[in-house]
């Protein structure tokens, strides 16, 4: 019973935490945009406008739920659900800290430490596209279908370099367990650098990062909802909380992707050069590792916002050329070099 209770607490905790992060992200996005564009941004609701997400949520919940007359009703309702489900489920295998030790019992800060955690992420990542396709198709609107088509092509194209970058990580660490990958990143690399994935896989990191932006439909890859061309793409016809789920799912996706970047390339909960477990108690160490992990995640979350309001959107053919002609060959090259180095040094 104790095991189930602990698992339940972990699930609820990380679920609420990710939701909270996503909520705060909507505020960070708007304030960050305002900061970059030299204007105040939403600053009326609460201190610094912090209650703005709450007001937005209430607004979305209480708006009239409109289903267009020509839409395919069931598919239309299924779309947002299918979109947000993979976004929420990925966190099941992400380690969000090291561990607590209570009465000699280790409690890992990870919902499930499965040995195929890595592949689980890839599988769920490839499912996210269905929510967008369904939304676009069921709306029965030309802009929605165009957005859905674009996103299908884009997500399928960028899953390949994404997967190739992940494959190189699996080669380096020789495991599919995310916790083992995180554990392997303590200490130093070549004597001076922190033993983080980014120093072993610099090219892989860039590939993963670019592909992650494309997978999250963020600028410069927000072709599926390019406002100036196709209104807002696949969710043009959506309103009220269904639209809310799409928008919110995007932020959950960003939180997940940032956590993955931190886990694979930036040492998860490890501080550079300092071993926290040496001088912290078992419980304070658990909390500290959680905080360190999410400080790193926070940086990448900010980077998503920063890039969005700094970089212009690609043209569609440029997106495809970048994906197939640049990233995929680079990904293959990266795997080749990684395998060669491992073979020669083993």
């Amino acid at each position: 019973m104790g095991e189930i209770l602990i698992a339940l607490i972990k699930v609820v905790f990380i679920w609420v935490w990710v939701l909270l992060c996503a909520v705060v992200m909507t505020w960070v996005e708007r304030r960050g945009a305002a900061m970059i564009q030299d204007r105040p941004g939403p600053n009326r609701a609460g201190p610094f406008g912090l209650l703005q997400p709450l007001a937005d949520g209430i607004k979305l919940f209480t708006k009239e739920d409109i289903v267009p007359a020509k839409a395919k009703k069931i598919l239309f309702m299924l779309g947002p659900l299918l979109f947000s489900f993979p976004a929420f489920s990925t966190f099941a295998v992400v380690p969000f800290g090291d561990k607590f030790v209570i009465d000699g019992k280790e409690i890992l800060l990870q919902v499930s430490n499965v040995n195929i955690g890595f592949l689980y992420i890839v599988a769920l990542g490839s499912m996210a596209v269905y929510g967008i396709i369904l939304g676009g198709w069921a709306s029965n609107n030309k802009y929605s279908i165009l957005g859905g088509l674009r996103s299908t092509a884009q997500l399928v194209s960028y899953e390949v370099p994404w997967g190739l970058a992940l494959l190189a990580i699996a080669l380096v660490y020789g495991t599919f367990s995310l916790r083992d990958i995180a554990l392997a990143q303590s200490g130093t690399f070549l004597g001076v650098l922190p033993n983080w994935g980014v120093f072993k896989q610099p090219l892989g990191f860039i590939l993963f990062m670019v592909a992650a932006y494309a997978e999250a439909n963020r600028v410069p890859f927000d072709l599926p909802e390019a406002e100036s061309e196709i209104v807002s793409g696949y969710h043009t016809e959506y309103g009220s909380m269904r639209l809310g789920l799409y928008l919110f799912g995007e932020y959950v996706n960003i939180v997940t992707l940032s956590s993955l970047i931190t886990t694979f390339y930036f040492g998860a909960w490890h501080l550079p050069y300092i071993d926290m477990s040496a001088f912290l108690g078992p419980i304070s160490y658990g909390i500290a590792s959680f905080i360190v992990f999410f400080l790193k995640v926070a940086f990448f979350l900010w980077l998503f916002v920063w890039v969005r309001w700094t970089v212009p959107r690609f043209r569609y053919d440029q997106v495809m050329t970048l994906g197939w002609r640049e990233l995929i060959p680079l990904g293959l090259f990266n795997i080749f070099v990684t395998a060669l180095v491992i073979q020669l040094t083993a």
Binding site: K72, L75, V114, N115, I116, L119, Y120, V122, A123, G125, S126, M127, V129, Y130, I133, L134, G136, W137, A138, N140, I145, G148, L149, T152, A153, L155, V156, E159, F176
Partner: protein, 165 residues
């Protein structure tokens, strides 16, 4: 745990029937997606998480997405798929082939059961490491043959779609 099997087996068969009878293209594709996911759940039940994940990644995540992509390119949400074939000889041939396939499958299942029987699972069964070492040691030949086959299909597809080299 038998209940688990029956739930997902029923789901797979129900979704399969929906896939072949649905007149709307995209719901039909979603029926196929449900089949893939129920099969993945059955693989999980059979202590093969790796196969389950591959099933979802490759079939649901890659192949079916391409199918859906084609549907979106060629059809509008208003279009319906063609109804039942009126051609009686073709339909009876299809029914016969279906029956033969069913018998073959039953024989296959029986054969596997006779050869393998009920054995306890070996240590680390279904783990990626064991899977990989079996794949690239004992079954390397089969693996290579299949990859050559896929390469042939790939070259054929390029040739068909690009007549004027």
């Amino acid at each position: 745990m038998e209940l688990y099997f029956w739930i997902f087996a029923a789901m797979a068969i129900g979704a399969g029937i929906f896939t072949v009878t649905a007149r709307d293209a995209l719901p039909s594709a979603l029926g196929l997606l449900t089949v893939f996911i129920s099969l993945a759940s059955l693989y999980l039940h059979l202590q093969a998480p790796l196969v389950a994940v591959f099933q979802v990644t490759i079939y649901a995540g890659a192949i079916l997405v391409l199918v859906v992509f084609v549907i979106m390119l060629l059809m509008t949400p208003e279009d319906k798929l063609a109804g039942e074939q009126k051609n009686l000889p073709f339909r009876s041939m299809g029914a016969m082939l279906g029956g033969v396939t069913l018998i073959l499958l039953a024989l296959g299942v029986r054969g596997v059961y006779c050869m393998v029987g009920e054995k306890a699972l070996s240590d680390g069964f279904g783990a990626p490491k064991l899977f990989g070492s079996l794949f690239f040691n004992d079954f390397l030949m089969h693996f290579e043959v299949v990859s050559v086959l896929l390469l042939v299909a790939l070259i054929g597809a390029v040739y068909l779609s690009k007549k004027n080299f």
